[in-house]
Each structure stands twice: as structure tokens, then as C-alpha cells.
């Protein structure tokens, strides 16, 4: 889903830079001083895992796909910290030539701002509905996986709308990019489940949805990143 330079009209790139930089500013303001210093290593690891997972493509004939991870990081850290993590990952990828420099704003909007905010909101909605039926740990896994599937398809649809500015793409292209991501989304959901399962088992205290729950009481060494500073 990484758009290279030289495809999108400049005006749209500038617009998307404006939107994404505004969202980044808001994210920094929202995250500032709310995270515990003790959670920093986990966030670093999470960013590294997302980078690695985006580095390789899994086959989805006739195409291929890779994990985006936006919904997963949004559920774990909250949507604003999630946007910052994805911004960081996409920046390094742009330096690697995966996704353009000029299209960084557009890529950040699609995979970061849009995907983190919508993914988080959908996951929360599903989580609240499921947690009484299957317990919090299972509910967070299922709800995040479901939301990550929907967000992958929705983000592809948004990208398809943006690509309507490219001559030759058209509505058939919009249908193609959305339908192929309906398959890629399955891989996204599976990878999200597997990676999140590790954190649920190993470090449940870093998952924001599991705050104020029985899991939080099990947290022994690390403060929850979303916790307000004690006064």
C-alpha cells in the first residue's frame, strides 16, 4: 500500500501532507507526558516488529500483501501513539525507497491516521460487545483481528479514491484494489492475531484495551502507557 513518488498529482500530495502533519501534531500533544517511561522499550519493540512485518510480502495471487499493523498498534498503545509509531516506521521505509518521500503524507494518512483512528474505534466497538461473551483476552484478540480486516479493505478503498486523480486508474481500478485487499486483509487479520497473541501472553499490561481489568492487576513491573500521571 506504499505509494511511490511520481504517481499522485502534486496538489493531492501537498493536501495529504497538511492533513497528516496536523494529525502528527495532535498526536504528539495527546501522547506527551501520558506515557510511562517504563513502557518505552515495548513501544520500540512494537515499532521494530511492525517494520519487519511490513518488510516482506506474503503471496495473495495474483498479487501479494504485507502487514500494515495500524489497528494492532492503535489497540495496544491508543490511536495517537499508534499514529506516531506508524509515522516512524513509514519514515524509515521511505528512506529505504519503499513509499515515496513526496507521498509520505499520503501514505501516513492511509496507513497511519485513517487506519489507526478507524481501527481503534472499530476494535473498541467490537471489544465492548464481545468481552462479556468470551473474556477480555480473547475478546481483544478477536475484535482487533476483525477490525484489522475491515480497516485493510477500507484503507485500500480510500487509496483507490485518491488514485482517481491518476489518469487511467478509474472505477475498475478502484474495484480491483479494494477486492484484492479483501484477500490481503485475511493475512492482515491472521498476522495481527498472532503478534497480538504474543503480547497478550507475554506483556498484557501494554495493551490499552486491557487496562482497568483483571489483567492490569497482573502487571507487575510496567505502568500502563495510557495511565495519567499520579499527582
Amino acid at each position: 500500500m506504499h505509494v511511490p513518488d511520481g504517481v499522485i498529482p502534486l496538489a493531492l500530495q501537498i493536501l495529504m501532507y497538511g492533513i497528516s502533519l496536523t494529525a502528527l501534531y495532535v498526536a504528539v500533544r495527546r501522547v506527551n507526558k501520558r506515557l510511562s517511561e517504563k513502557t518505552v522499550p515495548y513501544i520500540g519493540v512494537l515499532a521494530a516488529v511492525v517494520f519487519a512485518a511490513q518488510f516482506v510480502n506474503f503471496p495473495v495471487p495474483p498479487s501479494s500483501g504485507h502487514l500494515v499493523g495500524s489497528t494492532m498498534v492503535a489497540v495496544m498503545l491508543g490511536p495517537w501513539a499508534g499514529i506516531l509509531v506508524i509515522a516512524l516506521v513509514l519514515f524509515v521505509q521511505a528512506m529505504y525507497g519503499d513509499g515515496g518521500i513526496l507521498t509520505y503524507g499520503l501514505n501516513l494518512f492511509n496507513m497511519g491516521v485513517f487506519s489507526c483512528l478507524v481501527g481503534w474505534a472499530l476494535s473498541l466497538l467490537f471489544f465492548k460487545g464481545l468481552k462479556k461473551r468470551m473474556g477480555e483476552k480473547t475478546a481483544v484478540l478477536v475484535s482487533t483481528s476483525m477490525a484489522s480486516y475491515i480497516v485493510t479493505v477500507a484503507a485500500a478503498f480510500v487509496l483507490g479514491l485518491e488514485l482517481q486523480t491518476v489518469p487511467g486508474f478509474g472505477l475498475a481500478g478502484l474495484l480491483a484494489i479494494t477486492s484484492i485487499h479483501a484477500l490481503i486483509g485475511v493475512g492482515e487479520a491472521i498476522l495481527t492475531f498472532v503478534i497480538l497473541l504474543y503480547f497478550v501472553k507475554a506483556r498484557p499490561q501494554v495493551i490499552s484495551f486491557l487496562s482497568d481489568s483483571e489483567v492490569r492487576e497482573l502487571a507487575n513491573a510496567v505502568d500502563a502507557p495510557w495511565a495519567e500521571p499520579s499527582t
Partner: protein, 94 residues
Amino acid sequence: MERNEIVRFVIPVVVVVIAILSVVIFAGLASSNPDGFEWALFDFSGVPEPEGTFEGVWAFLGEGSVVEALTGAVGVIVVLVLGMIVFKALARKG
């Protein structure tokens, strides 16, 4: 930030991530098909792929499994360190 936590959690996870990444690359398990975006745009819709754009800071190393695994491992560590620097600056102390 607890140094023990870095030794007990961060380093093992990063080592495992780099190991998995390397195995996937060396074993040829990563798909060489165009990704969903590229397929929909360049293959399906027939939009010409842009040429002469920035190919990345490692382009001078060329291509190949070894280069890909090496640059991938470097990227993982760079993202880890950058993430820790950025979020440490934003975190509340204590």
C-alpha cells in the same frame, strides 16, 4: 526505563524478529508478486510505473538475499532505536 527489561525482553524479541526476517528472505518465502497497490495500479489498470525516483539509501549495495537480510536487520534496529528515542522524549519521567 529498566535496563533489566531491555535485556530480558527487548533484545530477545529483536533477535527473534531479525532471525525470522532472515529465514523468510534466505528461504525465498517472501512473495515476488507485485503488492496489492502495485498490482491494481500498474498491472491491472496499466498505469506506467514511474522511473528514476529515489530508490533508497541502500540502493548502492545492489540487490540480493544477503543485502536484503542485512538492510532489513539494520532497519529493525534503526526503528527500534528511533522509537525509543522519540517515545522517551515524550514519556513522563519516573
